[in-house]
């Protein structure tokens, strides 16, 4: 999800009025509401649309049901999967547990939690400086953060793995520790740019009034700016979590031995284990899927608006 060209997001709040205060006006869908001119009246077009929607759901969402049905089924081979489980069982999860899946999940949660906390902190601080201060070299610094997006882990994997084994100046070996995964994820250009754009739109009057009251920089950020940035922080949080949870190469090269793997990387261990069947791999997949699913469903609104707002500005 690192995206060199997605332009920063404008305040999402401006577009979507507060959910609680005013109920969004429900206009009746007119003929010209959509590009294809869909309408709600039963008819040929209506039936066609329902049919196509059903196909879209079957293609994009239904395969996820096979993960669940397979994970709770007692079939050893993994072939003959269906959308509904037969002979429900938790055996697959027990076997996956014996193979250490919960430890891997623990690694993942520590990395995702710590990584996200660090990322949000670092990016918020940088965005605050870029948005609310003027200083020499500002454009250059912005360019540097944008460049972090063009240096994904894939492209710098080999030297990065050397750096993780021996961090310059301090000469620490981060391999095999969660820091090896967390620290490289700290500075994420996307969040910096998005938060900067958002913070720029906070009126200076609010800031000036606070300064007259003698509010210092950190309190200004924490008590004045951050509460006004909640929508942007939501987007940065969801996208950041999904980006960190999706990491594959970084946990791989930052590990000393397989016990350091995250749960997504550990799926390959389950798969290559000749003693376990596909049901166990799918049980692992369920465990790796649930956290991102929860985050997405809780915050999908801000995620989708975030991606959309980020894209349309261009």
């Amino acid at each position: 999800m690192s995206t060199p060209v997605i332009e920063p997001v404008r305040p999402v709040a401006a577009k979507s009025p507060s959910r609680r205060s005013a109920k969004p006006q429900r206009t009746t869908p007119a003929r010209f509401d959509t590009a294809l001119g869909w309408n709600d009246k039963p008819g040929l077009a209506w039936t066609l649309r329902i049919l196509l929607c059903a196909i879209a759901l079957a293609v994009f969402a239904a395969p996820f049901l096979t993960i669940f049905s397979g994970a709770f089924s007692t079939n050893p081979s993994g072939s003959s999967l269906s959308f509904l489980p037969h002979h429900g069982t938790l055996l697959n999860f027990e076997v996956a547990g014996e193979r250490g899946i919960w430890d891997y999940l623990g690694n993942s949660l520590v990395i995702a939690g710590g990584g996200l906390l660090l990322q949000l902190t670092v990016c918020t601080l940088a965005a605050y400086a870029l948005a609310r201060h003027r200083f020499r070299g500002q454009a250059l610094i912005m360019l540097l953060f944008m460049m972090t997006l063009m240096l994904p882990e894939e492209v710098i994997a080999i030297p990065l793995s050397l750096v993780l084994g021996d961090v310059p100046v301090v000469h620490l070996d981060l391999k095999g520790t969660v820091w090896g995964v967390i620290l490289p994820l700290g500075a994420w250009g996307f969040s910096v740019m998005m938060l900067t754009e958002f913070m720029k739109d906070i009126p200076t009057e609010i800031e000036e009034a606070a300064r007259l009251d003698g509010v210092g920089e950190l309190r200004m950020l924490w008590q004045i700016v951050l509460p006004l940035c909640k929508p942007a922080l939501g987007v940065a949080g969801v996208l950041g979590f999904i980006m960190i949870w999706d990491q594959y190469l970084l946990p791989l090269i930052a590990s000393k031995d397989p016990t350091d793997y995250t749960v997504t990387v550990a799926l390959s261990i389950l798969r290559t284990d000749p003693e376990v069947g596909s049901g166990v791999v799918l049980a692992g997949a369920v465990i790796a899927l649930i956290p991102s699913l929860i985050v997405y469903l809780l915050l999908q609104r801000s995620l989708v608006t975030g991606i959309a707002a980020g894209a349309t500005k261009g």
């Binding site: 060199p4 509401d33 293609v59 990016c123 201060h133 200083f135 030297p159 798969r271 596909s278």
Partner: protein, 304 residues
């Protein structure tokens, strides 16, 4: 890792230096430090390594462009570049087309449509490794595998999706389209939301066909969204790694080997760190070139 909180005494000293100019740098310090150590330093090191014969314990030896010529003339690497292009282009165009279709289909305000959009977006938020396991099982090669049992109903024999060297790359491509089409859908939907509705009405007054309306009203309006989608897809296609690594590992017989899996194998399995670095540097240059070119054309398009 957070910025240092100056104690009252220290704050007074800082204030004496010129508080205003120091403050922003204190806030920027953590981010710049992390980017420097874990992004820019490795990049510089990668460039350096790419010109050297890396020999542990003996010291690295300058070899000039040897790594580059060796890597670029290696036929396995040339194959990998070819696969990257086929996979990248096919996957990008497929995902964009499907994204447009999905966006046109799922555009609207109804609550049921929002639910469907949420469900359809699932592939884009699921970790690639999980998606890989899912598709590996859907591609199960025996006749009772999920996709093969569908084919079986149609009276077609089991297909070796991932084990057939002629098919494996395309099987990987289909998974890539499946992952990225919903993502593109969201961006295109946002573009569609910005279309001026009165233009649709005017077009209807003029009695133009649906196709003409899409071609002359909708398409120009979503062009910015499309150009973003295209850029993102191209860059993603170039550095594709996880999808391939999880699904096929580059096999069978190297038929799905792409740029980054090849570089990974060179660096971590063959221990040819110089060669792997050279491959990465070339990829980095191509990515940068692509980004700059596309941005150039986008800017020009905006002016017009």
């Amino acid at each position: 890792m957070t910025a240092t909180v100056p104690a009252p005494a220290a704050r007074r000293v800082l204030g004496a230096i010129s508080r205003k100019s120091v403050v922003p740098w204190l806030f920027l310090a953590p981010g710049l430090l992390l980017a420097l150590v874990f992004k820019f330093w490795p990049m510089a090191k990668g460039v350096w390594l790419s010109f050297h014969d890396v020999r542990p314990f003996l010291g690295d030896k300058w070899t000039g462009l040897d790594n580059y010529t060796r890597v670029l003339s290696d036929h396995r690497f040339q194959d990998a570049i070819g696969h990257t292009l086929v996979l990248g282009i096919g996957q990008s165009l497929g995902a964009i087309l499907l994204g447009i279709v999905l966006a046109l289909l799922l555009e609207g305000q109804a609550r049921s449509l929002k639910f469907i959009r949420t469900a359809v977006f699932l592939p884009a938020v699921t970790a690639t490794a999980v998606v890989g396991e899912l598709w590996r099982l859907m591609y199960y090669p025996t006749s009772d595998g999920l996709l093969n049992s569908g084919l079986h109903l149609l009276g077609l024999g089991p297909v070796q999706y991932l084990d057939d060297p002629n098919l494996a790359l395309y099987s990987t491509m289909v998974m890539g389209i499946w992952i990225w089409a919903p993502y593109n859908m969201v961006i295109i939907l946002a573009g569609l939301a910005g279309v001026d509705r009165t233009l649709y009405e005017a077009a209807a007054m003029d009695g133009v066909s649906l196709w003409q309306r899409l071609r002359h009203v909708t398409l120009p309006a979503i062009r910015p969204a499309l150009s973003i989608v295209l850029t993102l897809a191209a860059i993603r296609g170039l550095r594709v790694f996880t999808e391939v690594y999880v699904l096929t590992g580059g096999g069978p017989a190297g038929s799905t080997e792409v740029w980054m899996t090849r570089a990974y194998t060179l660096g971590f399995t063959r221990n040819d760190i110089g060669g792997a670095s050279a491959a990465s540097v070339v990829l980095l240059c191509v990515t940068l070139l692509l980004t700059v070119t596309v941005n150039h054309f986008r800017k020009r398009g905006d002016v017009r």
